[in-house]
Homo-oligomer: 215 residues x 2
């Protein structure tokens, strides 16, 4: 289905943007994309700040011109508008458990990798936290964040010994967040899935070969 009254502002290599693109692909909803050039700092320009004053991608702009920022908020909107192929759960219990697992994937995995790269990259000096304010990098965070990402992978492996997918027996948004985190860790901080984490490897092979993974 094409939802051409919506517009998704995204960064081609932004992992947060990828979380939304995969979500849309899984649901089979095509939303016109508008690329924001993060390398050139386009997110700090006046035009984009009028769309999202937090200066971050992605942002979904809907029919009436309202901007929706923050990945889980965009995903919630898309799920409510296009309920087919639910990725946020169906029953109250489902919805809660998927929200719980998605949040853990984000806080324990995604946020840790993001923190490692933002406190290290020379190009992000004084930009240790995304948003409208400047914050100095804290080098000690780089190592601690990496340690968190390592623990994240080990914990996720344990979880995947007992469940086919992160939140249970069905693919959900929690798998998307975890997949993007694993790929982001490899690319941004050169952290690979250790070979001994066989359940994580089994899951990764399954989710990373879905058609949506290239979105």
């Amino acid at each position: 289905m094409t939802a051409d009254t919506l517009k998704l502002y995204h960064g081609a290599s932004s992992p947060n943007s990828r979380r939304v693109r995969i979500f849309l692909a899984e649901k089979g909803v095509a939303v016109p994309l508008v690329a924001v050039d993060l390398g050139k700092g386009e997110q700090h320009g006046e035009a984009y700040r009028a769309i999202n004053p937090r200066r971050v991608v992605p942002t979904l702009v809907i029919e009436d011109g309202t901007s929706i920022g923050e990945v889980p908020a965009i995903q919630r909107y898309v799920e409510e508008r296009f309920p087919d192929t639910p990725l946020l759960g169906v029953t109250p219990k489902d919805k809660a458990l998927i929200a719980m697992w998605d949040r853990r994937m984000e806080q324990e995995g995604f946020a840790a990798v993001m923190e490692a790269i933002r406190n290290r990259a020379p190009g992000l000096k004084d930009r240790a936290i995304a948003g409208p304010h400047d914050y100095a990098q804290i080098p000690a965070l780089v190592e601690r964040s990496r340690e968190r990402a390592v623990n994240f992978m080990a914990d996720l492996d344990e979880r995947l010994k007992e469940a086919a997918f992160v939140a249970g027996d069905r693919f959900s948004v929690a798998d998307i967040t975890a997949l993007v985190t694993i790929d982001f860790a490899a690319k941004a901080i050169d952290l690979q899935v250790p070979v001994e984490l066989q359940s994580l490897k089994r899951w990764y092979d399954a989710v990373s070969t879905r058609a949506s993974a290239t979105a």
Copy 2:
């Protein structure tokens, strides 16, 4: 309404627990509470770890024995089961904007205050991040987190110049997160709302005097 087939494990002075208690009070849903003594480390004991292996409060245990952890996941469950007095929005756009604002309140405010206290408190040495893993405190984070909390208040004041409540013209979960953050900042890091932030003060006076605030 009494929902006595549910049980909420909480800490009396835990700000994350308070987020859920206020949410329930606003909805008029009474859930039996089970106190976990965080001061005595009860969350690390075998009994509680069987309920929540992440060793954090709150946890909602439902009829079939399933544990739901993470504040927004618990709130989602409660909203789905007890839809009266919606706090997470009604229309797709509402739901998305409330999710967006709630997340900003949490990431920019609540998480900053939490980070400041966890990286400073002598009792939390090597427990800088809640959860099953030990992480050393990073003293440089204390100042940066405080700076974030100060910016959070100024940004929220700006927002409240244009809206009665955080997410718009109605009270929502985003107000709960913001209220708990402001009170937590005063108590944990002695950060008060500056007198010149008059819109924030107007909002705080309104939300902190609702009956739910004592929950």
